[in-house]
Symmetry: C2
């Protein structure tokens, strides 16, 4: 596939345009076309045998199959390890939450429920509202009464019923589960069994396509970490991996109850007074699966690491500038943590490391400083000189 | 996979929590795990035999494999046809541009170039800057001197060299190609051969996973439409499809030079004075592949359709409220066009229709009216009643 041909006059040529003025494209061999690959739909439902229900009819049937991106220019950041980024921002609503929601909504539908609910004013709310919309279920989203307007707008685009709940937001998680039991509404909170079954598929995809020594992911409620741990346990039980990966969980230092419990050697997590952090979407002061997350880190030989805001913002910039990935601020915590782990020798130069970037940066408004480009102003006749100068600067 | 078990004490239970207080998860069968599927990486490089170069080392190697989402609640909008949405917003930088960029950057690298460039102040600029960042190439982005600050910020996160070019932006496209020829910089504009080779893979994935009668996509420069047409021609030449899909191209009425040429029966496109439209990212007044786009629509038995802004915003809301997909405003033009086509009988109730949603809505700031949720305020003890009321309202 190297000949450039004009669709209009049939002539071959070089560059972008034919002598006749029309654009060129590459000629291909019909024999090669006949041999094109037929790969199965790469959704998470290829793991149906490991999931509790069948796929839903709409959006949730296509969730999963996110890219595992090689990031060679970040290897040096992690002591020379081979770095890959599992980019969960590729999901329809921009985060890993769609996995748990897909299985949760499918399970609720299979059980005959016609209303689903969740407690969240961020990624999970948007995800549950979107999937319910696709299936034609009603959806109740419980948010704190003082939710920021821009986040409410993003949720409201999928037209759920929104409850602004006054009172202790920390108690709302369990209160909603209780209300679900009372009313028959399927409450898909962040660490419920259906959701964790869906979140497990992040790990299945990572282990299907790579053999990491370490997997680093942000931790908030502990639901996603539980899912990854479940994958590792299943893979070990089935004899699929000889050396299962160590699970490292990253928190922002401003709100790090699981990291603090890990440092103390505790088996359970004490609630903390939440501080401010740029990684606000993982600032969970009283994580419902905190103990399970601690077990996940400890039993796989990993750790729970707290990183400060400057390190998080610097890692976010590194992901954009050297891996081409602009992630949600909280999703830069794994790179910040991996840098620390490499510095203290917990990750070695011959290892493979997977950083789980749980969401795209496009869903949040500017957090931290926005970059100011060093932009030169030129006329049309100055473009070639400016390109030449860029070439002279290139490595 | 139906038993819920406690990771901590091993007891089985129902609901979200074990009697011991810890969360439950679903038990699985190690035999089923041992049989987990091994699917090839679903990136566009599975079509290597149809592409002009090998994959790059970083980000571009993982591009493609976006979901083809079934949207049953939109069928009635399109006269009862079965509607699927090819969701290109799943790409790393949020749009279909990553396909062309991945092949373009790989081709430039294979040709020994160390600088890539593009003309854009939107999706393509962000995409080229991101992929160049991942590969360690320098990148020159040519933007108009009066580019909106928020778009420049999004581009600047990947640290390219930015040229603010004064003068006629319409002439910059060809001026940049000429400067590239003069300086050896690889200019990856929207309809260049490498880019069209990459964009072709949208069509390959659609035809690999479905047999649509009609494919509807937004058209701007005509590069993506050219890629889809290339796919159809290749599939026909190889005998892979009996009845190739008709290609329908959608423009916003405010800037619709290709639709106007189609309506006139012309074979080439006359530049227009661009009007305002909410679908600003496809408002191309002088499309470089306009004639090729016209040929694509005509030779496949399709059409080029212009839709007004109200129809575009209404279609965007329908995609969010009934398919769970929040798309870039310009990417709602295919649903608006498909509604018109169904209304005039050009798409039939027994047909399969694929709408190409070329980008996520999260990359743009609020365009058009933001929804205001009808939010009820309740206390913690009012959550169950509110859920019950939602259940009573459910369909």
């Amino acid at each position: 596939v190297t000949d450039r041909v004009c669709y209009a006059c049939g002539a071959t040529g070089a560059g972008a345009r034919c002598a006749c003025g029309e654009p060129l494209w590459f000629e291909t061999d019909p024999e090669a076309v006949a041999g094109w690959p037929e790969t199965p739909e790469p959704s998470l439902w290829r793991y149906r045998a490991l999931l509790p229900c069948d796929p839903p009819a709409g959006l949730g049937a296509s969730v999963g199959g996110t890219p595992l991106v090689r990031a060679p220019r970040l290897d040096a950041d992690v002591g020379g390890a081979a770095v890959r980024v599992k980019f969960e921002g590729a999901h329809p609503t921009g985060t890993f939450k769609d996995r748990g929601t897909a299985v949760g909504v499918a399970g609720a539908t299979a059980a005959g429920r016609d209303v689903v609910a969740t407690v969240s004013h961020g990624n999970m709310a948007r995800s549950v509202a979107a999937h319910a919309a696709s299936e034609g279920l009603d959806c109740v989203v419980c948010v704190p009464a003082d939710v920021p307007a821009e986040r409410l707008t993003a949720i409201a685009r999928h037209d759920p019923t929104v409850l602004r709940v006054e009172g202790d937001y920390g108690r709302l998680y369990e209160a909603a589960l209780a209300a679900g039991r009372e009313t028959g509404v399927a409450v898909l909170n962040s660490d419920t069994p259906l959701r964790v079954a869906g979140q497990k598929t992040t790990g299945l995809e990572v282990l299907e396509r790579s053999s990491p020594d370490a997997v680093v992911l942000p931790v908030s409620s502990g639901g996603h970490a539980s899912g990854l741990w479940k994958t590792v346990r299943e893979a070990v039980a089935a004899g699929l991996v000889d050396a299962p990966p160590r699970l490292y969980l990253a928190q922002a230092a401003g709100c790090a109850p699981i990291a603090e419990a890990f440092a103390r050697g505790d088996e359970t997590v004490r609630p903390v007074d939440p501080g401010e952090t740029v990684a606000y979407s993982i600032a969970n002061a009283d994580p419902p699966s905190g103990a399970r997350a601690l077990a996940a880190a400890r039993e796989t030989g990993g750790a729970v690491v707290a990183v400060d805001d400057d390190a998080v913002l610097d890692a976010r910039a590194a992901l954009a500038e050297r891996a081409g990935l602009f992630v949600e601020t909280s999703c830069a915590t794994p790179l910040a943590a991996a840098r620390d782990l490499a510095a203290r020798g917990e990750v070695g130069p011959d290892e493979e490391v997977v950083l789980v970037a749980t969401g795209t940066g496009y869903t949040e408004r500017d957090v931290g400083d926005a970059p100011t480009p060093d932009a030169e102003v030129v006329g049309l006749d100055g473009v070639a000189d400016a390109m030449r100068a860029a070439g002279d600067r290139a490595p």
